[in-house]
Amino acid sequence: MTRLPDFHAARWDEPVVMELGRPGGRGQHFPAPEDEVRASVGVDLIPEGMARTDRPDLPEITEFEAQRHYLHLSQMTLGMMGVSLFGTCTMKYNSKTAEFATLRPELAAVHPYQHPDTLQGVLQIFHDMDGMLRSLSGMDQFIFQPGGGADAAYTMACMARAYWADRGMLGQRTEMVTSVQAHPCNPATAAAAGFRVVNLPLEENGYPSLDALKAAVGDRTALIMINNPDDMGIYNPEIREWVRIAREAGALCFYDHANFNGVMGKLSARELGFDACMFMLHKTFGAPKAGGGPAVGAFGCTEELAGYLPTPVVVKSGDRYTLDDDRPKSMGKIREFWGNVPQVVKAYAWTRAMGADGIELGADISVVTNNYMDKRLSEIPGLAISNPDVSARRMEMTRWSLGPIAEETGIGTVDFANRMADYGIDPWWMSHEPWIVAEPFTPEPGELWSKEDIDLWIDVLAKICEEARSDPEMVRSAPHSQAIAQVRGDAFEDPAKWAMTWRAWKRKQAGADQVERGVA
């Protein structure tokens, strides 16, 4: 076993910003209105009754104090500065060259309502990115308006509404069919778009049966939404047949390409028969995740569906790029403007820097490294692989279970995740709901991390397994070398205790004090 890091997180004991500063402290000045402005318009410009009379209870700190405070907070965020094999999210290097390029005024200080003649650079990048994603998927048109993978799923559901409404069949095509292990955003967005959700159960081989699918799809099915491979690392070899059956029933078929990393350059959604797909540019295409966005769910579809896309769509005519707003069958906007533009530029940069060979090599490495992980994890007593009957090599990630060791020691996946950080390893992803295996965890090594990183990650896991047996209380009370001790969860569902702002916290603390003193 390699030597494990003697790690301790930064521990600044940093107060909440509302507690910092002093009356009258300043972090920014704004100029006073010019004399001629004041002379022209006067003062007291807010209509009576609408002028603010109270002073917002904000901190009053210096510019340096703000900088230092937030730098401290950044230092108390592990980010992916340890080893993050966070499954389903495909942790990648996020190019600083691309990051810096997007901060240039030629992008940061650009307004989406500028005349297209002044937007030719960013429009060209959109157009070129669209073209590269077409090549990767076989689809005919991509847009970048959805603000994440879930928003792309919602876009698909809304596209299906527009498609069926156009045929006068919205009242009949009322169902969306998916599998119980699809990402929660698929059933949730379909339901929010107004569809009834039909969830197919899984068979022993890890995916729903063709019989179950045949029984579920019919003339009420508006669409199916499916990912493949799934988060267990299992590829559904019947997917072509799935799509054929669903399309025969008239349903639209949406490929949730969240798990694209192992099949980049290997599969074409279009050739498998799908009508539409989405790519997560903040996962597979190297744009940063930023703790939950801004993100991009790039949405692509066939020519047959393209008329229903949200507007605007970037088009090229001659040497000029323009925004096409005149699409009468469009489903309407999914979000204002054209999308998280800087993230699209970063994804464009990733795709250009990788090239076709790099992308295919990335897929190869992702699947090889995951199989290397599987081999080593299988040698650790107390772990169990999901779907043990599936003997074939898994794809780019594998769902594992701590079921045996949890039964033996009482230490489960949350405890392990908390303890991992004590070694400077980013806590793992467990599983989306519902949990199909007990005490799940889902590593995904991707193409970024070295064998040494992966070995360290596994060694830490093996070490925690030993700790769970020798000193379970120490693991249960972890972490011990982080910025803070383990957070207590008792307030999260308690209206008397939860506090989503500092003012609520102070009010509830004051109330609790009064109760203690017998005042209330």
């Binding site: 920014q28 609408m50 950044s74 599969l267 074409s268 703790g291 801004p294 090889v368 207590r488």
Partner: protein, 468 residues
């Protein structure tokens, strides 16, 4: 080693021989073996057709910057565009903090390993709550329009009603998003969107029309303060009172940059408040700086109706120490799938950190100065433009930072005028001719703290010249 590939700077195992070591460990003869699950006829039939790789940072940077330089921007030009994305000053510290790799690259660790980020999120909620005078703020959703959409669906869940009243003079962009969220008619969860007339003399909501349309089927009244076309809504408290009397929720959209000088919505009866995050220290990014917040009072029926992440301050196992985590985790779609409140996913949480830094830098006095400066210069701009022959300010002296300029009497279209301005280095206001309200050839001009009196005089002078 001639013939061997060069390792890619972003892939450790692309180094010569690295992959082979692992293949040997797993007993695979070749890379093809690890793809054994995929049937042969599933593999794509054609090779990828991508442009040549730019693996050198020098080449990549040159390509990116070369393309971006084909844009013209609002630093080299003088821009008066707003309408959902506004040119505000972004303090340098904000760029430093949101560019920190830990904040840029993190995904979802434990409450302890992500403590600093979670605290920054809580500080976004707390400072925005102080501006709004409200106790609950959710982490932002994708955009202001999406925030309104979720807020309307919250109101429908809370009231069990299926009609929402929105201003006829709404931003068409946001209105389109609202309609998407309210579902087409004929679907089970459809929420009917009904327009509320504006008072033609002020642009404010027509309270008489509101009173006539309120009824026991109305889930919510939505209005903005300032409105889409810039007017400060003096009837805000009366609108909220009428809505409450009818059992409807009052949803307000506010510009956070105005809250140093305009009353907090929590003080005039707003039940649910939405707004854009972008004015709080986020660059325009060609619309990619969008984000939308949702806030309310701390009453359980509101809290239980949120769709996304509610970050609560809590105690840790160490006495006296505070940490942060997600309250009410069992109502969002991660746990509840199709039974959740709408859905959630990756959003715009980095902008919550930008906004936290921004609000801490401004403090109460900064927000007051900012609001004073904006409203003063915007009114000044309206005065100067209104003095030009043929140019009319549609609602003078009602504005915060945006105002409608009508050009009907010039005999020129806004498109023609904006072309001429652009040739002189000025981006005129958004062309709203053809939008609801029948305002003729009109443009929505936006003036903020970045526009000096000299900039405004340059605009007036150039416009005079263009219209001559």
């Amino acid at each position: 080693m001639a013939g061997e590939r060069r390792a890619h700077p972003w892939m450790a195992s692309s180094a010569p021989g690295a992959l082979e070591v692992m293949l040997k460990e797993i007993g695979a003869a070749s890379v093809d073996d690890v793809f054994e699950q995929i049937p042969k006829n599933h593999f794509r039939s054609t090779p990828l057709d991508l442009p040549p790789a730019l693996t050198s940072e020098i080449e990549l940077r040159r390509d990116l910057v070369g393309k971006l330089r084909k844009n013209a921007d609002c630093e080299d030009n003088l821009s008066f565009l707003g309408a959902g994305v506004w040119q505000h000053h972004v303090p340098a510290i904000v760029d430093e903090i949101v560019g920190r790799t830990e904040f840029a690259t993190n995904v979802w660790g434990s409450y302890q390993s992500d403590h600093g980020r979670n605290q920054a999120w809580f500080e976004f909620n707390s400072q925005l709550g102080a501006l709004l005078n409200l106790d609950v703020v959710q982490l932002p959703v994708y955009s202001w329009g999406c925030a309104i959409g979720h807020a309307i669906r919250m109101a429908a869940r809370i009231t069990g009603r299926t009609r929402v009243l929105v201003p006829a003079l709404s931003d068409p962009e946001r209105l389109s998003v609202i309609r998407t969220y309210c579902q087409p008619s004929g679907m089970d969860g459809h929420i009917e969107v009904v327009s509320l007339a504006a008072d033609p003399t002020s642009g404010r909501l027509d309270v008489g029309d509101l009173a006539a349309r309120l009824g026991d089927d109305v889930a919510a009244v939505y209005f903005e303060n300032p409105s889409y076309l810039g007017t400060i809504e003096t009837g805000a408290a009366e609108i909220a009172r009428l809505a409450r009397a009818a059992g409807a929720e009052t949803i307000v959209g506010v510009d956070p940059a105005s809250l140093g000088v305009i009353r907090a919505p929590g003080d005039y009866g707003a039940d649910i408040v939405t707004g854009p995050v972008q004015p709080l220290g986020v660059h325009m990014h060609c619309g990619g700086g969008a984000g939308g917040f949702i806030a309310s009072r701390d009453e359980e029926h509101y809290v239980r109706a949120y769709n996304g992440f509610l970050v609560s301050v809590v105690e840790t196992r160490e006495p006296g120490q505070l940490g942060f985590g997600l309250a009410c985790p069992h109502q969002n779609s991660y746990g509840m799938r199709e039974d959740a409140n709408d859905w959630t996913g990756n959003s715009t949480y980095l902008w919550a950190i930008a906004a936290a830094v921004y609000m801490s830098l401004l403090g109460p006095e900064g927000f007051r100065e900012l609001g004073t400066l904006i409203v003063s210069r915007a009114r000044y701009a309206a005065r100067l433009l209104g003095n030009i022959d043929g140019v009319r300010i549609v609602w003078p002296d009602t504005t915060f930072k945006e105002f409608v300029v009508n050009f009907d009497d010039t005999g020129r279209t806004v498109a023609e005028i904006n072309d001429a301005l652009r040739a002189r280095g000025i981006f005129g206001g958004k062309d709203i001719s053809g939008e609801a309200g029948g305002l003729g050839q009109s443009a929505l001009y936006c003036v903020t703290e970045v526009h000096t009196a000299a900039d405004i005089r340059r605009l007036a002078g150039t416009l005079t010249e263009v219209l001559r």
